[in-house]
Symmetry: C2
């Protein structure tokens, strides 16, 4: 079964809003073995919506439309479905009662326009909402389906899960099982990763591999297809082992795992605690670490030393270090890491100092130059990086590099060779 | 001129990646008066891309394709353009030299596959990249255009601004002027903002108003159309004045202005300096403040006190305060604000403490309970909030509230009534 997704809303084609519904639906139905072959976004305009529905039905087994089901006059998906399918809207008194009841629960007077939601295309089935007030629609025509869901993500998600997934399961045999596995790496570039694993990629069967770059991270996205789930799992597993064998610790995580999650797990597992001194990243690294629920078990806190006074008074970085080496130097990064570890009494301290730009660079110390120091008991060392990109990107890459440096430190010193990094 | 956008990448239709390129292009070209009538996302598949290009060209004056221009084998946009336009790829030795030179600058050995980027469809014009290595493509056929840009947002954005916008301006007359203006507010909800300005919205001509909710922020999006730019500016200006008059300081900024940018401007203008003590937000607020270039002029730094020891030792919060009132209390928020101000020697200190969840709530102190304290010379006060939502949302709303509290403090004490908040 192949389908397409149409998201309706002028705010989308105007660029005022990001489309999160289409990826959500694709991903969820992908887990069920249903393939989405295209995403389309169109304005709140009957003809545009209808034309896209017709086109999509010509290219697959069905279409899922989200948005345009509300009560206001710019909600025209119901009309567009009729125009594409050549049918009429019919008033459903029972649906009006359902909608009244839903509003009644919230004891709000019922605006007249709400009754627009009680109309259904001839022959369509209504989906009663459990969240919100907009009924969904399933219309079957000539072995194809048109599904229409509300645009509000929470309302859409609920209907997708409790109504659409069961309906699709009952309707379509999955002719093919399907699985996506993402290997997340700290490879230097797409090209270097391609070089490193190109021969493995070429040798794989029933699996396609994409290499994608994100700031501070290169992903290997594996997509396997096969007759059933067991075989697909096996295909993924075998490919994954080859990549792991070749790349080792360059792979920092899998699927949704972020580097802060992996580092958090390593700290917890090895009963290590952390504190953080940040200069150019300005709190971004601490923010990432504390994104993880329960991070207070291993993260004591941090100092954002955005000027030299703070480096001296809060982190005990000496005047001499700052004068002789400068605020952006290996010596200062090390002193920051040591200072913050002492202040917070944590096992490990990290210090990050650099020039995020877009101004402040010199020939000696260009924009993107970043030093990261690590201090743990009698060990201390620092790394030097030069990152390319905007201020945001340099900051993001710096945080990622600091977390990756910590990850390698723990793997090298606390985990067995070839240990489980997941 | 009407055009469509096609974003290429299997990660999009698989739901592994969010499409930010299409809204970025729509918005930027919308400012130029060019209307995007549809967004499409397709997998890395020659036939799918080619079919969508052909469809889009049938519905407008042109198509902008992003992605699929890299060097790897799954980058097939060049081939798809040829399939749709009925032409061939031709090797361009001069383009190969340009690419070599770009790589040479970074002194990285040049992988063989990179030369795939030196091929162009017959009759096409190459766009030399200033960022990254992938050349863009402009192909004109029968009064229609196919523009192909890299998928990496920074590379795409740079080419759009410096190559595509000038090319489109020289090519197409704008038949209608068009302007979007976003008023960003700290209203409590969409419904409360609708109530506050509903009568103004109904009375407006030639302008449509959308009300959209984002975490910590409600936006009024104004879209005006008219015969020329001067008239459209006038329509927007008049509407804006009515909203400003009604809403006053609830409007914190316009268009792309973030609250951290507005607060930064207010601090700078009034020669005030800031430091920050964060608990539940874990560095997010400092990260936002330091997102702004030049923030080191007014931001001294911060302490992330993720445990009580840090609150005591780095911020001088007394044991008595912590024991009597608890870590999440007005007294602790005030003590954190005072303590961080003293430590850093800044004019103003902010303290944020709360329960972000998803665990850690009690009947007395539920998840989402947040106290924010502000300390300045002899003034100090705190606000109490209860935010609903996930851990991420509670943290985001907390940071936003802290910045908004600081904004109001400066407006009330340093700016004249009705002063310029922009």
């Amino acid at each position: 079964m192949q389908y397409q997704i149409i998201t309706v809303g002028s705010e989308l084609t105007l660029g005022l809003s990001i489309n999160t519904n289409a990826p959500f639906i694709s991903k969820r139905l992908g887990q069920e073995g249903f393939t989405c072959s295209r995403h389309i976004s169109v304005p709140d305009d009957i003809r545009s919506i209808a034309r896209s529905i017709t086109e999509s039905l010509g290219q697959g087994d069905g279409v899922i439309v989200t948005g345009g089901l509300g009560p206001t006059v710019d909600d025209v998906t119901r009309e567009a479905i009729c125009e594409s399918a050549g049918c009429q809207l019919e008033y459903q008194p029972w649906l009006a009662r359902v909608i009244e009841e839903r509003y009644g629960k919230r004891s709000v007077p019922l605006p007249q326009i709400t009754y627009r939601q009680a109309y259904l295309p001839t022959g369509a089935k209504a989906i009663i909402p459990t969240i919100g007030s907009a009924p969904g629609i399933i219309l079957e025509r000539d072995d194809k389906f048109i599904i229409s869901l509300p645009g509000v993500p929470r309302e859409m998600g609920s209907m997708l899960e409790y109504d659409i997934v069961p309906w699709l399961r009952s309707k379509f045999q999955r002719d093919e099982a399907y699985k996506v596995r993402v290997l997340r790496t700290t490879a230097k570039s797409e090209a270097s990763l391609q070089e490193a694993v190109g021969d493995i990629v070429d040798s794989l069967h029933n699996i396609s591999v994409g290499i994608l770059a994100f700031p501070g991270e290169i992903q290997l996205q594996l997509l396997a297809k096969g007759p059933d789930e067991r075989i697909v799992d096996q295909i993924i597993k075998e490919a994954e082992l080859q990549f792991l064998d070749r790349l080792g610790n360059i792979i920092f995580g899998f699927d949704e795992q972020t580097i802060e999650e992996v580092v958090g797990r390593l700290l917890r597992k090895n009963e290590l605690t952390l504190s953080l001194a940040e200069s150019c990243t300005g709190g971004l690294t601490a923010k990432k670490i504390t994104d993880i629920q329960g991070s207070s078990d291993y993260f004591f806190g941090g100092v954002i030393s955005y000027n030299n006074d703070a480096k001296r008074s809060l982190l005990n970085v000496s005047n001499q270090t700052l004068l002789r080496h400068g605020a952006v130097s290996a010596a200062t990064a090390l002193a920051m890491a040591f200072g913050v570890r002492e202040k917070f009494g944590s096992d490990i301290g990290l210090g990050i100092t650099g020039i995020a730009g877009p101004t402040g660079g010199t020939p000696d110390k260009p924009i993107g130059l970043v030093y990261i120091g690590l201090s743990h008991q009698t060990t201390s060392y620092s790394n030097r990086y030069v990152f390319f990109g905007s201020r945001d990107i340099v900051r993001l890459k710096s945080s990622h590099a600091a977390l990756d440096m910590l990850r390698y430190y723990i793997l090298d010193n606390f985990e067995q060779v070839g240990g489980d990094v997941s």
